[in-house]
């Protein structure tokens, strides 16, 4: 027990100490978070009227970002699965980065959902015992279960493994069970989130079977894409590459991730194309939201097309990313690889976040067209939550890197060798 407490205290110390640049990064994120909290105070005081969400478009930036980030959280499975099921060595070293990214992403998801609530003071009503959850009928209750469960798994697994590394003991076998559970669990979190939308017959833009597969495909693109960028940053700021470093992030791991991102992106584009064909060929009334996205809708002589430029930019970025990832020459060149990853990430953020949630409400089920564009306060709160997620991730990563690089160790285990972690 004392070792555990020591582990926790040391972790906190490690996460809060570093170079000047590290502090600058933490400060950069922290002021965004604090300003977000300041802005959220106004949202609590005045209500959601500080946003641009109204009855016509009743979910906005918060839920759009939540949807996208659940996908990023789920993407950890794309590292864990090859590492543990296929024993892919390159990935064994980087699973912890994926799992901790899931923690950061889940922090953001849960924050987004909470700040989107009209009455956050009543959030206990959704939990059993303190409330009356509408389980199993309401998909939101399933989402509460799977998201919190996945958060628990992704705190437990790296936490346990890092603790064991800290005290230089081999991890017990039971952790494998949790790791294996986390694989289908990751699929489930994104499937449940997709089912939130796919089950609504009122919204034909979302009420399609391809919603869940699309979500998974785009998650497994955006997640690895982000992971590739992050791992390169990790390589730059840690001892990786220098002699004697115990951290291992090989180029091969990155290229395999890129490969995974490529396949997922192609599948995602295929699902998108399939969606566009199914809705567009018969051109029923269900075409309206898609038409709004790409071409705008016209009513009484006014054309409503606020999202049009973003959508075309997103599709272009996704296609360029797919092409860059397709050819080994560009996939293995770090410049083009990074461009591809950034384009993939931004493209999917648009196509799956704002470009999925907002058009679901335009036109309203009884034909009104009302456009949404986030207010400044909404944008700042959104950025603040992103900053919070990255802050959490940075702090956790600092600990993980310190422990895995064998820079910190429990005093009693100073002379022990690092056991086999995986």
């Amino acid at each position: 027990m004392s070792k555990l407490i020591d582990f926790v205290i040391t972790s906190i110390k490690v996460s809060l100490t570093g170079s000047k640049k590290y502090y600058a990064w933490l400060a950069s994120l922290l002021i965004m978070v604090l300003f977000g909290a300041f802005s959220y105070y106004y949202q609590l005081k005045y209500g959601l009227i500080i946003t641009d969400i109204r009855d016509q478009v009743s979910w906005g930036s918060y839920i759009a970002n939540f949807t996208f980030l659940v996908g990023v959280a789920a993407a950890a499975v794309m590292i864990v699965l090859p590492a543990y099921i296929y024993n892919y060595k390159e990935f064994k070293h980087i699973t912890i980065f994926g799992e901790l990214l899931a923690v950061g992403a889940l922090t953001m998801c849960l924050s987004f959902v909470l700040i989107d609530l009209g009455r956050i003071d009543r959030m206990l009503h959704i939990l059993p015992f303190t409330g009356t959850p509408n389980w199993p009928q309401s998909m939101l209750t399933w989402d509460v279960i799977v998201l919190n469960g996945y958060l628990f798994l992704n705190l437990l697994i790296p936490g346990y493994l890092l603790y064991k590394a800290y005290v230089r003991e081999p991890p017990r076998k039971w952790i494998k069970i949790f790791i294996l559970i986390s694989i289908p669990w990751a699929i489930s979190i994104h499937t449940v989130t997709a089912f939130l939308y796919g089950g609504l017959a009122a919204r034909p833009f979302w009420n399609t079977a391809v919603m869940a597969p699309r979500f998974l495909a785009s998650a497994f693109t955006a997640g690895p894409a982000l992971m590739i960028i992050i791992l390169q940053i990790v390589r730059r700021y840690t001892c990786i590459g220098k002699p004697g470093c115990k951290l291992v992030v090989t180029d091969r791991a990155l290229f395999t991730l890129a490969h995974i991102a490529l396949i997922s992106m192609l599948v995602n584009l295929f699902f998108l194309g399939s969606e566009i064909y199914t809705v567009g060929y018969a051109a029923t009334s269900h075409l309206a939201p898609l038409k709004y996205l790409f071409f705008g809708l016209e009513h009484n002589g006014v054309t409503y097309a606020k999202l049009q430029p973003y959508m075309w930019a997103a599709i272009t970025m996704e296609i360029i990313a797919a092409i860059l990832l397709l050819f080994p020459k560009t996939r293995k060149n770090f410049t083009t690889l990074n461009i591809a990853c950034i384009f993939a990430f931004l493209g999917i953020w648009t196509e799956k976040g704002m470009g999925l949630i907002i058009p679901g409400f335009i036109p309203t089920p009884i034909g009104e067209i009302w456009e949404y564009y986030p207010t400044l306060m909404e944008i700042m709160i959104t950025l603040a939550v992103w900053a919070l997620g990255f802050l959490v991730y940075t702090l956790l990563l600092k600990v993980a890197i310190a422990i895995e690089a064998e820079e910190v160790v429990h005093p009693s285990a100073k002379d022990k060798e690092m056991p086999e972690m995986h």
């Binding site: 509408n134 009928q137 034909g367």
Partner: protein
């Protein structure tokens, strides 16, 4: 069985917590501006009669303090053998919107504040103006792939006008269709509510416990008829406009962050009166009654007129029927 006893124990503990809090019940939590008693209030369906009465006393005191009115807040239960139904004659409707405003006067919606542009008027009924028909024949001689003819007629929920404002209604070439909560028998909104804050009462009315709703707005996304409204800010309700005759599940004054919608004027219908919109319609286009009573107005409409429902294919089974003469 173990679960039962544990649940019972925890419920008792929660009740104990509520009882223990009563001495501090009037402490106000800042920013979100609720008293501790309100914070710990239980779900309406789980409250005993005394608890309900305590809640009503608290609400009455609040309204007296805030608005200076003496409200009656009923908790009238549904009558046996009654399922309310509604029929609207779109042949007769002239789109005058008297129903919209009668509803607002009756149900204590937030009004538009003359000084604060962030407070708008919530209207539960939305009247659609639909063109009777539009004909654009295709171009002669062109092959079918290049030019479709266009003939649009009928109930068009995709292209209609909500903000019509001509000098006089009805206009020659338009017909009108008011839409409000259809009180579905298979309500998608009830299915998706994560906290069971909205449910179907035995007399068929879908109600919301405004003190239980967490404001997630999943029901707004799930409703195919755009019938639900949300309080984006604190409601603005001048004292003169308040209808003091309230029902807990119906027209009591709401707070920011919760969902509301038409409740078939539950404060009226459970006392045997017609909803406000039915009474005010100047052309008698609205009919209301007990679907289980073969002699009721709405049953007669179902027998004698050709009725249809909106979005029948979605399987929501609305109890709001539209008909024509």
């Amino acid at each position: 069985m173990v679960d039962e006893s544990r649940r019972d124990f925890l419920k008792k503990a929660a009740a104990g917590a509520t009882a223990a809090v009563i001495p501090f019940a009037n402490v106000r939590i800042p920013v979100i501006d609720v008293t501790l008693e309100e914070f710990f209030q239980k779900h309406y369906k789980e409250m005993s009669e005394e608890e309900k009465q305590r809640v009503i006393e608290r609400l009455k005191k609040e309204y007296k303090e805030k608005y200076g009115i003496d409200a009656t807040i009923k908790t009238t239960p549904p009558k046996e053998g009654v399922v309310w139904g509604y029929a609207l004659n779109i042949q007769k409707c002239i789109g005058c919107r008297r129903c919209v405003y009668a509803c607002v006067r009756e149900n204590n919606q937030s009004r538009a504040s003359p000084t604060d542009p962030t407070k708008g008027e919530i209207q539960w009924i939305r009247v659609l103006e639909i063109e009777k028909f539009k004909i654009h024949p295709g171009e002669e001689g062109k092959d079918f792939r290049t030019r479709f003819g266009e003939i649009i007629a009928g109930v068009n929920l995709e292209e209609n006008e909500h903000y019509y404002n001509p000098e006089h209604v009805p206009e020659e070439d338009k017909f009108y269709m008011p839409i409000q909560c259809q009180q579905c028998e298979r309500p998608p909104c009830v299915k998706v509510c994560p906290t069971k804050a909205t449910w179907k009462e035995p007399d068929g009315i879908i109600v919301v416990d405004y003190n239980w709703c967490i404001g997630c707005r999943f029901c707004l996304a799930a409703c195919p008829y755009w019938a639900r409204r949300f309080n984006w800010s604190d409601p603005y309700l001048p004292k003169e406009e308040i209808n003091p005759n309230m029902h807990y599940l119906g027209n009591r004054i709401r707070m920011r962050g919760v969902v509301e919608k038409c409740t078939f004027c539950i404060q009226r219908t459970r006392e045997g009166r017609y909803p406000a919109c039915v009474e005010i319609c100047p052309v008698g286009a609205r009919k209301f009654g007990n679907l289980l009573d073969p002699e009721s107005d709405v049953r007669k409409v179902l027998e004698k007129k050709r009725v249809f429902r909106l979005k029948e294919e979605l399987g929501t089974q609305p109890k709001f029927f539209y008909f024509m003469d």
